[in-house]
Symmetry: D2
Subunit: 353 residues, 4 copies
C-alpha cells in the first residue's frame, strides 16, 4: 500500500486506527537543532480535539502526545521523531452493528472491497481520528517554517452556507467555528442548531493563507507547489475540492483580468494565489478547500450489508454536525507539512558550499 | 529538483524545453507484452497539437513521436520506454525581448527567482509545449487501463462562460472545442472570436469521467485516489482548481443530500464522484478542473524587467486564445497516468500466488 | 534526512534511540489478510535479544513487542502496522563520560559532524539496539514470503577466524554462535574466551541462503536484486563487505569456470548465487557479509574529545565480544525485507486481470 | 518495474537497448548554473567506449553524446538534462541464433522468466552497453562534486590474478588496463593474451578512492553512505562483491586492530574506509568491487533453449576478454552519482536561511 507516508525530504508516516490502542506519526528528515517539546504539539492538538466545541463529537479524548525519539535535551537531533497518542475513550460497542453494514458516505464499502477485511470499529483507519497524527506532525513542520518566518493561517470561510465576509486573524482560535468574522458567528450557530435538530449535517469551506513564503518553492513540472498542496489538502477525508488563488472563478475571467501585473517589489493583485508556474512568487499563498457534510447523520439511510442485501441504517454513537471547525487545524497541518518539505527540497539545490 | 517524474510504479519522467532540440518522456514500470506502436501515441498527440484548431496557436509542429526503447516487435518488454519528439518550427527570435522582461501570469519571474537562470525562449521548460510529453505517456498508460476496460473521457464543460448542458461523447473529438454539446458550439465560437478581436484570452472548465474503474484503487491515507488525481491535474500549468464529484457544491449540501445511498449492485447517486475515503467505489469517477485564461495576451500589460524596473509589455508571437481545447487531452493523459499507476499499486497487494 | 525508511512497496520506517523511552517500526504496504500476532515477532526478537548468549552484552532487555495498529482479529488489514518495544534496562550514567569523547569505530564523531548534536547515551540512534526494530519488521516480511514458501536461512560462517565447514541447518538456533557446524563450536568458544580475557573483540562472516525464491525477482538496472541485497545488508552497522555467489573469488576465475551451465530444470553449479543480471534465477540465493569486530573494547584507546583534544579512553558498560551471533537474525531480517518488497514489486507487473 | 532510476535528489533515469536506435539518460535535480557541455561528458565516455583498448570488443561505436535539454548558454538551468547516444555499429544478425538459446552467465534466462519477452539482440537492456548512459550521467554528477573539490579516483587493482602493488594516479588513464602500477602492466598483458588464445575470459578487482569528501554525508539508518555505495556498485552487471575499507579482512581482525584511533585533525589509520556508522568521516573513502569474468566466451558451453532442451552453444560476435578496464569508468560514475545525491540530501538539512 505505502500511502501512509507524506513528503520527500520532510517525511511523515502516520499509523493507527480509531479504536486501536494508539495512533501516531514518525517524522523523518526534520533538520537537527530545532527546539521541540510536547507542549508545542499539544497546543495544536487541542484545536482538533473532539469534545472541545459545544457542537462537536462527545468522544472525550485528551489526545496527550508523547515524543518517543528524535529529541534530546529539548532539541531535534536529525533522527526520526516518533509521536504517539494513546486512545482512551473507546466505546467500540457503539459500532457493533456496523460490522455487517456499510455506512453511506464512509469508507466502509471501499475498504472492504480493497482489502477484503476491515476494522469496522469507529471507521478504523478511515476515521477522522487519523488526522490527529497529521496535526501533531504539522506542529513539527511549523518549527521548520518558523526558521524562515513563514506563517500558515487557516480558518472557516463558510459553514452551512453562512460565509465570512471579513478576516480578523486574531479571533480565529477564540470562537467555536474558527471563523475570522465575528459578525457571522450567530448565524453559524443558528444554522448548526437547526441542522442538529433535523439529525442532519453540514459542509463548508476552509481557507488557508500563507504569509512570508519566499519566492522559489515548488518543483516543476509534476511537483508544482500548487499540485502538491492540492494533493495534501485533498488527502484530508472530507475535502472534495481545492482552489488556488482565483480558483474556479478564473474559468470565467479574461486574461487581462486574471493576470497579476508585476510591479517593483511584487505584484498588483493576487489572482494567482501566490504561485506561478508551480513556484511560489513571494506573494501570499491563498487556497480554499470544499468540505463535504459529515456522512454520519442521525437520519435513517438506505444502504446494503456485507452480503449485498438492502438495509435501513440509523447511525448511533457520537458524531459532529460538521467536519468544520475541527478540520481547520488538519488542513493547516497539511499545508505546513507541504511547505516544510518543499523548503528542504529547495535548499538542496539552492544552498552552495 | 526531481519534480519531473510522476508515479510510483508506472513512472513517467519528462524533459525538454520549448525551443530546445527536442522533448520527451521516459516511462519506467510499464508491464511487458502490451501492444504498442508510435501510431497509438500519434493519435493522442494530434489532439494536443498546435495549429490543429482554427483558433489555436499558429506554431506548426508535426509532433512526430519516435519510440527509442522498451518495445520489441510491437510489444512492450518491461524495460523503459523512451519517447522523443523533435522540435521543428522554432522561432526563438520572437522571444528576444523577453530575455529581460517578465511576462505577467507566466513562470518567467518564478523560474528566475528559483534557479537564478532561465531559458527565456518560448517559456523554456514552463511552456505548455512540455505537455506533449505527458500526452504521449498517457497514451501508453491507456494501454494498461485497456487491459481492464477502463475508459477515460475528457471534454470541455465550459469555455469563456459558455457551458455545455448535455454530453454526447461521440462528438467530442470532432469539433474545435472538444465539447460534448453540439448546441453550444456556435456560442463558444462567437465568444472566442469576440475575445480574439479584443486581444484578450479565455478560461474554462474541463470535465473528466472515468468509466469501468474497478472498486479498490487508491492508497489511504495520503495517496488517496482523489488526492493523487488532484495533484495530477493541478500539475497542468493552467489549472487553478480541482473538484471531485459534487466538489465545491458539497460545501452547501446537507449530509442527507450528499450521501449516496448504497443499493444492491452500486449506488443511488454519485455525489462522491466515484471515490469514497480515497478509494474508488466502482462508480464513475467524475472530476472537474478550472482552467485559467492564457496569460499571453495581445493587450499591453504592466510588468517589470530583470532589473526590477517597470516596463510596458506587448507580447508578440503565436498564441492561443484559450488553453482549451488543447488542454483537454493533457488532463485526460494525467488522469490516465494516475490510474495506471494506482492499478499497478493495487495489484501489488491484491494479487496472490 | 529520510534514511529511516526501507523498501518501495513493503516499506519499513524505524525510529528510536538506545536510551530513549522506546523504539519501533511502522510497516506500510503489507498485504491484507495475513495471520500475524506478537508471538510471531517475539520468537525472532528473542534471537537478537541482549543477554541471551553467555558471551553477549549483559543489558537485560526483554524486548517485548506490542502491535499497535494494522492487525484486526489476528489478520493484517492492509493499513500500517506499528510495532513498539519499550526500553527498560537503561543505565545512561554508564555513558556520562562519553558526552565529551568520541569512541573510535563508533558513530559518535560522524553524528556530531553531520547533525551538530547527538544523543550520546548508548550510541543514541547509531546503537545496535536500533536493529531490534529491523528484526521485528523482518518477522512480518516473512509472513509475505511464506505465502510463496520462500525460506531465508542465516548463520555464522566464521567467527574470529574459526570457520564452519559444514552446514546443518537444524542446529543453527540451538547453539550460542548460530553456527551450523557443531564441530567448530568448541574452537569458537575458546576463541571468544581468549579475546574476552584480552579485553578485545572479534569479527566474522555471516552467510545467508534463500530457498524457494522464484525466478523473476529484481528490477533492472539500478534496483537489481543483488544490488538491493547489498544495500540492505551493508546498512547493518557492522557490515563492511557483501558478496553474492562466488563473490570476490569470482575475480580470480575464468569465464568457463564461473559460468553456471543451464540444464533442463535449472543450473549445473551456482557461482552466480541465484541471481543473473539482477534477477533471481530460481536457484538458491547465496550471500555473505563481512562483520567487523565490535568497536567497544575494554582496552585503552587513543581518541579525541569534542574540543579536538587528544584523550585516552577506556570504555565501560556492558558490551558484546562480537556482533556475531546477534547480528545473524538482523541480516536475515534485512534479506527478508528486501525479498518481500521485490515480491510485491514483481506482482505489480506480472499479475494480470 | 521502475528500477531504472537512481538517486533521490540528484536522480538519473536511463533507458535503451543494445541494438535499439539509441540509449540515454535523463538527469533530474541537477543544481542550476553549473557549466556543462557535451565535451565534458565525451571525455568520460571515451574511456568506456568499445574498441578503444587493443584487447576489447571490436564493436566500433563513437558514442557521441548530445545534450537535448536542461542546459542554456553553457549552464545547467535546474530542469531535466536529457542525454542521448545513438547506436551506430549494430550488427543484430550476430545474435540471430540467440533468439532461442540462453547464454550461461547472462540475463537471457532471467529476463525471459521475468517479463515473458526479451529483446535478444546483443543482450537488449541487460547489455553492458547500458552503462554508457551511467558514465554520461556520472560526468554531470562530477560537476556537482567539483563544487566541493571532491575527487573520485577509480582503477584496476587486479586483473586475472595480477595485482597492482602501488598506486600512481597519474598513469591510470594512459594505459590499456587503467592500472595505477606500471610494473604489472606486462604481466596483465600476458595474462590477457594467454586467455584470449584459450577462448576464455577474466575477472578482476576495481578500487575506488574518494578524496576531499567532507564529513557528514550519509543518511542513517538504511541509507548509510556505504550501503548506498554498495547498491550503486553492485548494480553494475558484472560486480559480485563490494568491500568498504578493510572489507572482508575486517572479519579476521581484533577490535584493537580494526578501530581507527581519532587524532587531532583526523584519524590514525583508515580501516573504516572513510565511513563510520554510515556517515563519511572526512577521511578518504575506499571501496573495492569484485568483477566476474565476462560470460561471453568463445569456448563451447552447455545450456538450454527456450523450450528447455539442452544445447551446445558457441558464442560468436565481438566480445571483450574482461569487463576490466571498461568497467572502471562505470564504477567511478556510480560512485559519483551516489555522492552527488548524498551531497544534495545533506544540504537539505544542513543549510539554513
Amino acid at each position: 500500500m505505502s500511502g501512509n507516508t507524506f513528503g520527500r525530504l520532510f517525511r511523515v508516516t502516520t499509523w493507527g486506527e480509531s479504536h486501536g490502542p494508539a495512533l501516531g506519526a514518525v517524522i523523518d528528515g526534520c533538520p537537527p537543532r530545532l527546539p521541540l517539546n510536547a507542549a508545542d504539539i499539544q497546543v495544536e492538538l487541542a484545536r482538533r480535539r473532539p469534545g472541545r466545541q459545544a457542537h462537536a463529537t462527545r468522544r472525550a479524548e485528551m489526545d496527550q502526545v508523547e515524543i518517543l525519539s528524535g529529541v534530546f535535551e529539548g532539541l531535534t537531533t536529525g533522527t526520526p521523531i516518533s509521536l504517539i497518542i494513546y486512545n482512551r475513550d473507546v466505546r467500540s460497542q457503539d459500532y457493533d452493528e456496523l460490522q455487517e453494514v456499510f455506512r453511506p458516505g464512509h469508507g466502509d464499502f471501499t475498504y472492504q472491497r480493497k482489502y477484503g477485511i476491515r476494522d469496522h470499529r469507529g471507521g478504523g483507519r478511515a476515521s477522522a481520528r487519523e488526522t490527529a497524527a497529521r496535526v501533531a506532525a504539522g506542529a513539527v513542520a511549523q518549527k521548520v517554517l518558523a526558521q524562515e518566518n513563514i506563517k500558515v493561517i487557516a480558518f472557516t470561510l463558510e459553514l452551512g452556507g453562512v460565509r465570512a465576509t471579513q478576516v480578523d486573524e486574531s479571533i480565529i482560535w477564540d470562537n467555536d467555528f474558527y471563523c475570522p468574522d465575528a459578525g457571522v458567528l450567530p448565524a453559524m450557530q443558528e444554522r448548526v442548531q437547526e441542522v442538529r435538530t433535523q439529525g442532519d449535517s453540514l459542509g463548508g469551506i476552509v481557507e488557508v493563507r500563507v504569509q512570508g513564503c519566499p519566492a522559489g518553492l515548488g518543483e516543476p513540472v509534476f511537483d508544482k507547489l500548487d499540485a502538491a498542496l492540492a494533493q495534501a489538502v485533498m488527502s484530508v477525508g472530507a475535502v472534495k475540492g481545492v482552489e488556488i488563488g482565483a480558483g474556479f472563478a478564473a474559468a470565467g475571467m479574461l486574461g487581462s483580468e486574471h493576470n497579476d501585473p508585476l510591479i517593483p517589489g511584487g505584484f498588483a493583485g493576487n489572482r494567482a494565489g501566490g504561485i506561478l508556474a508551480g513556484i511560489s512568487n513571494g506573494d501570499e499563498i491563498v487556497l480554499k478547500a470544499a468540505v463535504k457534510p459529515i456522512p454520519s447523520i442521525a437520519k435513517e439511510q438506505l444502504t446494503i450489508d456485507v452480503h449485498g442485501q438492502p438495509r435501513v441504517l440509523r447511525i448511533r454513537g457520537r458524531h459532529d454536525i460538521s467536519a468544520i471547525p475541527r478540520i481547520v487545524p488538519v488542513i493547516q497541518a497539511m499545508v505546513r507539512l507541504t511547505l516544510a518539505d518543499f523548503l528542504l527540497r529547495h535548499r538542496a539545490i539552492s544552498c552552495e558550499p
